[in-house]
Homo-oligomer: 145 residues x 2
DNA sequence: TCAATAATTAGAATAATTCCATTTTCAACT
DNA sequence: AGTTGAAAATGGAATTATTCTAATTATTGA
């Protein structure tokens, strides 16, 4: 049985895909639902395990295909830290990531408008940034571990 | 014939290694010299090709070993963008990276103290950042391509 | 319903990096 | 100078995340 998205998520999902002429399949909905459901920045591997509980026949390739599609539609974002496996995040607001080197957990860190502007201002004339990626790593908050 | 470091680089190099009880070997000096020589953010593969011109018998494993050692000693820094191969950079000052999506080139972008402080201030109480990584990607300066 | 197109599937292939067992190098001691 | 022991280098195999491929299945629009 497929993952059930909330009515508003389902609308966003179907709309974003149709806008690009893509089909809102049950696998894509499931992957999207899983990323929304537990916002722990899962890897493709984590997502594959969770998807299989809902749609047991799903293959790894499909999970990767779905993730690529969802990223392409702007529904989820990739988080790359070091050489570790890519993680996925449904938070579309401007934010940075903090990786705890002890637990491996990743935390979202909001970026205020003023700091964001200062960061943008670093870019030299003639360059046009389409993407900004800010990552911290170090010791996380022990109360959350 | 080994790569020849400038007297001051040689001193920094030998000192940083000896401080950690490590040996300043000719392979390590060569890898370090190559990263200092052409500051184009080479990959391990690029470095391997260049090292072989000076020390033909060098193996890939040695290049990786040397890079790990140099990073561990703080002589060079790793630059990870997306899932592309790790690149290496001898610029030890606070700086960000801009990757041109057209040419693949990576440019250093200096970070002023005020912006750096603002970025640090984003980190929530209880977290201790040991590393900051700021990356931009988009269209680079066409005059440099 | 049916054809056309898009998406999914399983498994092979790839690419960057790491591991491992062996050999070589280097520095400190006889 | 020769010996020894630890550290480093070597070649090749192994690993891991991801992408590719060819065949099958699902979805959409006429």
């Amino acid at each position: 049985m497929a993952f059930s998205l909330s009515p508003s998520s389902k609308k966003t999902f179907a709309h974003s895909l149709r806008e690009k002429g893509l089909r809102p399949t049950k696998q894509r909905a499931c992957v999207y639902g899983i990323i929304l459901d537990k916002r722990d920045h899962p890897t493709a591997d984590d997502i594959f395990d969770r998807v299989k509980k809902h749609l047991p026949g799903t293959s790894f390739a499909t999970v990767y295909n779905c993730l690529e599609t969802l990223v392409g539609c702007g529904l989820v974002r990739q988080v790359n830290m070091d050489r570790s496996p890519t993680r996925y995040c449904p938070n579309l607001t401007p934010h940075a990531h903090f990786k705890c080197t002890e637990s491996g957990q990743i935390f979202d860190v909001q970026i205020d408008q003023e700091t964001l502007s200062k960061m943008h201002a670093l870019i030299p004339k003639g360059f046009l940034a389409e993407n900004i990626d800010l990552c911290f790593s170090g010791k996380g908050d022990s109360s959350t571990q």
